[in-house]
Amino acid sequence: MTRQEWPLYEVFIRSRSGLSHRHAGSVHAADDEMALNNARDTYTRRSEGVSIWVVRSDRIVASDPAETSAFFDPAEDKIYRHPTFYDIPDEVENL
């Protein structure tokens, strides 16, 4: 018997309106439509969602964990991007 695995999809669920979709896990499916149905059956058996996104896992572009510090480095020395960088006298209110 030839075994050919169905592609893997990542599943994102919006638990209620007003919130972002959040990664829930993954499912295998032959096509997009089946991926949606499988994601519903696997991850929302107790009404955990009002909206589901599925995306083929091999289509996701991700940053490299080995390069994390180099990749995020440009943000590290820009402390003036934070409000606490600025000294404002106590007498000044609502600022």
Partner: protein, 331 residues
């Protein structure tokens, strides 16, 4: 638990990766010690990866095989309500298997490889699912004791150092509580019923008590790679600690039902605040885990048949997807 840890870590296949340096290993352990979660693509020692693949896939297989003993009673549940409950529980177990397979896949093993190892008999699953469900009361005993023991083990796994596994366990634990409660309630109903019903509940407890205690795996002294799993924070409590916790909470629940735990020597030690119990029959445990329990052959045969019977569906879905993709490409 569902991964009773009997085969050795890291014995499968030669390590072809470049050597792991002491610096890498130290940095990794430092992250673990700082309670940082390890994520899928992070650097990790090969032995950590293999231990997790083994543990998570065994856990997944247990959820999948675990549907069979309960599935046995689906068409014979005494009421529509009980049938709907049991069906929902069995569906949850399928879901647990799927969450766990997908967590294991993040470590670079394919679903097909894992399923193949289960079907070939190479992979292990929890010994508990090789016992038969002879009466309806067994469904109550399983929910109460088997899911109860599972919860005991799975709650600390929610804090496991490997992110995808810990997140899968959080999801699983949310669902397990219903499993245990419906089982206990079923037992309670039988115990408040006729003499025969109560006797049936007692018989189920008699048969499931010891196998449930075995779910926690061998005694600490005989448990080969517990120490490493503890250091990696995959495991947080030892087998014996978890087993003791389980006994301490479960004995009073049995008393409430008016049932007796099948252990003549069981007594409550006021000084330690724990129950003391007889020795477990480890020979039985090793027999069951090595394939010679009452139902091992039947469980695997049924799983293989389901896989084979579904082959044409998987192939048809594949062919349909390919055809649709080709049509879209041409349009």
């Amino acid at each position: 638990m569902y991964t009773q840890g009997l085969d050795q870590a890291g014995k499968s296949g030669p390590d072809t990766r470049e050597a792991e340096t002491a610096t890498q290993l130290d940095a990794f352990q430092a992250r673990i010690d700082a309670e940082e979660k390890i994520e899928a693509k992070d650097w990790m020692p090969e032995a950590y990866r293999r231990t997790l693949i083994r543990q998570i896939s065994q856990h997944a297989h247990s959820e999948i095989i675990g549907m069979q003993p309960e599935g046995n009673w689906l068409t014979r549940a005494p009421t529509m309500k009980r049938k709907a409950i049991l069906l929902a529980k069995v569906q949850d177990e399928a879901g647990h298997g799927l969450y766990l397979y997908s967590a294991a896949e993040t470590l670079g093993v394919s679903r097909d490889e894992m399923v193949g190892e289960l079907l070939s008999g190479k992979a292990k699953y929890s010994s508990i699912f090789n016992y038969p469900t002879l009466t309806w009361a067994d469904i109550g005993a399983i929910g109460w004791l088997v899911d109860g023991a599972a919860i005991m083990n799975q709650i600390p796994l929610c804090r496991c150092s490997y992110g995808p596994y810990s997140r899968a366990m959080v999801r699983v634990c949310k669902e397990e509580s219903f499993h245990q409660r419906q089982g206990y309630e079923l037992m309670l109903t039988l115990c408040r019923g006729t003499e025969e019903q109560k006797a049936m509940a007692q018989d189920a407890l008699n048969r499931f008590w010891w196998p449930a205690l075995m779910m926690f795996g061998p005694n600490d002294a005989a448990s080969s790679h517990s120490a490493q799993s503890m250091a990696w924070k995959i495991k947080r409590f030892s087998n014996d600690e978890l087993r003791q916790k389980f006994i301490d909470v479960t004995v009073p629940q049995a008393e409430f039902l008016g049932l007796s735990v099948p252990d003549e020597a069981l007594w409550f030690n006021e000084d330690t605040g724990h129950y003391e119990h007889s020795d477990i029959d480890w020979q039985e445990f090793f027999d069951v885990i090595s394939g010679n329990g009452p139902c091992n052959r039947q469980r695997l045969a049924k799983r293989r048949k389901a896989q084979d019977d579904g082959a044409w569906v998987r192939e048809a879905a594949r062919a349909y997807a390919d055809k649709k993709a080709a049509a879209e490409a041409a349009a």
